[in-house]
Structure formats: C-alpha cells, structure tokens
Amino acid sequence: MIKFDHVTKLYRPGVGLDDVNVNIDKGEFVFLVGPSGAGKSTFIKLMLKDLDPDTGDIIVGDYHVNKLSNRMVPKYRRKIGTVFQDFKLLPKKTAYENVAFAMEVLHKPGSLIRKQVPQILSLVGISDKADKYPHELAGGEQQRVAIARALVNNPQVLIADEPTGNLDPATAWGIMDLLDQINMRGTTVLMVTHAKDIVNRMDKRIIAIDRGRVIHDSKQAYEGPMGGDEE
C-alpha cells in the first residue's frame, strides 16, 4: 500500500530522510514516532507530495508518487485523508458544512453529500453536534469533525499528524478508539505521534525514525527517543 524504497531527502546531513525503506500493507495501523526534527514531517510531506525525494521511489496505492505530474497531484491526494494536530477546521462553517466542504470541493453531487455527511458524522460519533461551529465544540469533538472530513471521500489511507497532540489523555484515548475502528473498517492508518503511552499500549506496528533513519520497525514497545511532551 505504502512503499518507501531507498528514499533520501536531506536538507543537510542528518536532517530529513536518509535511505529509508518502509513497506506498509493495506489495512495496517502504523505509528510513526521519533524526536522532533527526526524526519517524521519529511516522511508525511513526501507522502503528500508536498516535497519530492532526492532519490528513491515512493509508491502509494496505484500511484508512483515521486513521478506524479503536478496535474495528477490533486487526484492522488483524494486517495489520502489527512488529519492535523490543530484540526484545521474552517471557523465560519458548522461541523456538517466542514465535512460537506471536502465533498463540494470535489464537485460531488448534492444528493450524495446529503446522504454521506450524516453517515460519516454518526460514524465519528458527533451527529448531535452537526450544526455547531468549531468554537462551540470541545477539542476532541473538533478532531472528530476533522477525521470525518478526512474520511468522507473514502480515502485508502488516513494520515494522522499528531491527532492527539492538543488533547487531554482521556479525550486522546477516545480519538485512538475511533482511529482503531476506522482501521478495522479497512482503511490503512498512519499516525505520527509523540505520545509514548499511546504507542506502547495500542499494540500496533511502530516505526521509529531518528536523524533521518529508521531505527525501529516492529510491534515491540519502543523505548528510544520520542521527543514531544516528555522532553
């Protein structure tokens, strides 16, 4: 599903990614961890084609990402849902409208939007908050809206970039349950995080990056440097 084949993208030695090989199968749930500046963001940006690698190949689904023409990039990105630490909801739109927006942008017919948005809002558990604006929602609820938005166009891969970074632990676990559920419905989930307790209690594959290299890739608990809150 996601394949990084000898991918190198170095800003300067030790910063970026250095000869990274990663293979993620369809339907996997993978944590991407490592200290700040280790290369996690570079990894995500390469996947989203915000950046191009210096060398190596990136394959996501049917797409040879590093060889995509600019014209094809939007089409490729529709196969990937993205969730951010700061949610990135549009403040002037309600929860429903925020999710519908992702479909409007792709010119989906109104009938389909009216059918699918309530379904996805119910999946993430905030049907009753559909008419609320982001500032009326708690952090966890906002992140659920953002997840609904990322999922509404049925992506094959969900990238969650520190989705629990701004949330208290109890709320964070709620989000983790939701991501786990989504994963069990068949969506490949790649989650970047600093939260060591979450990573080690979820029993999922953990890929750790440090100074641009993969230093750990297994379901075993990871005890190396992770940066984030505890540093």
């Binding site: 939007p74 529709r78 990937i80 992702a102 409007e104 792709l106 010119h107 938005r149 166009n153």
Partner: protein
Amino acid sequence: MISSLFYNIKQAFVQIFRNRGMSAASIFSILAMLLILGLVFIIVVNINLFTEIVKQDYDQVEVFIVDGTSEQQVQEVKAQIEAQPGVTSVEYRSQEDALKIMKERWGESGYLLDSLGDNPLPASLMISVESLDDAGSVASFAGKFDIIEDVQYYKDTVDKLTRITHFLQIAGMIIMAFLVIVSVVVVSNTIKLTVMARADEIHIMKYVGANNWFIRGPFMVEGIIIGLIASLIAGGAIALIYKQIVAAVGDQVFAIVSSPLISVQYMTVNLLIIFVALGCSIGAWGSIVSMRRYLKA
C-alpha cells in the same frame, strides 16, 4: 459548473466586503491607474485624429502659375500633371478664385481686400496626391514647367508631425505598460492578504484534492470583481472629465488647429471597453500572482 460559478461569485462578494479596507485600496489603485491611462489615451487619440486631419489637408501640392499664361497652356500642363502616378486630381484656381478664398479666410476683415486695385494673387493648380510620399516627385515634376513660378507643399511639416505622433504613441504605451505592472503588484498584494487570511482553507482544499483552478477560482473572481468595480468607476469619471474638457476647450482647440476633439460618446464607449478588459485582467492576473506560493505543488 454553473453552480460552482455562482458559488465563486457569492464567495467573492463576501470576501470583498469582509476585507473592505484592502478591497477599497485595490479598487483605488486600479482606478488611479485607469484614470491616468485614460488621460494618456485621450491625448494620444486626439493627437492621432489631428494628425490624420492635417495629413488630409496637406496631401496637396500647390503650384503657382506665372501671370499672363494663357488658358490653353495651363490646360496642357494640367493634363500632363494629371497623368503623373500618384496624382488623384488637379484643380485650377484662377486669380479671382484665389482672391475669393483669401477673402473668406480673412472673414470680417475681408473688405480690406476690396481696396486692392489689381489682383496681386497668382493663379495656381491644386494637385491632390494619393499620399504625401508622392508629393516630392510630383512637385519636382511640376516645377520643371516654364509657366510654373513656385511650388509649395508641406511634406517636412507633416513628417515632423508624424514623428511626434509616433513618439507620443510609444511613450503612451510605455506609460501604460508601467502602470499595468504597478497595478498588478498592488492588487496581488491586496489579494495576498485575503489569501493569507484563508491559508487554512486553501491548505484543506489542497489536501482533500481540489485542483488548483478550483482553489484559484474564488480569488480570481474576487480580483475580477475588484477590477470591474474600478473600471466602471473609472469609465464614469473619465466620461465626466472628458465632457468638461470638450465643453471648456473644444471650441478653442478647433479654432487653433482646425481639428475637432473626438466626441465624448465615442471616447467613453471605447475607454469603457478598454477599462473593463484591462481592469478585469489586472484583477485576475493579480490574484494568480498572489497565489503562486500556495499552489506550487
């Protein structure tokens, strides 16, 4: 497609109103540049008209005939000149005709000429040529006849005038190009602010896979509307200004250079078309420039 167009137009008006301070600044900068451009245009077009009229007046060569030449000799020479290439017509002007024309030209003071005993004015042939370029050869051909005592034509004057017109046209174009670039920069900076205010929205659109033209759409419509508003105001303003100019100095200009100013209606219609086209393109261009950074990938 249609629904997304309406969506864009609605969004654009909302954005323009929300950022009314900056929108007003953009509108004013386009307006100012269109007004300057309009004035340059008015000057250039009027000078063009003046040059054309002068050229028509002066595409003639006048040859003066020695006193006492017989009618028959004149007719022979006239026929030979008429046969020259580039000559469209030759008109004989007798001494009496010449006096009459001069009296008309002097107007109210014309009676002064009545006191002249003998008519001192020579008879002449007015040779009309197809273009001023032919005037030189026609003049030297006509000058060879014994009965011709003098030749007059205005090639040098008209050439000089043409050169001045060309210079003004080029200067006008350079000024216009400069103004267009300045406006694009100003507008793109304004729209950049609204783009920055909506960076998150652009970010989201990008990551859900909206294509670049879809993302640009509302901003371009915004730019075009700003340009349109500015051009309509500029059109109205320039119409009023030009009306005043024509009312104030139109008659004097006609008296001095015997060329009318271009009509207010003609000028307004043409300037409005130019303004709208230019204003809208500046707006659209400015918005594309301002978004480049956000749509790289």
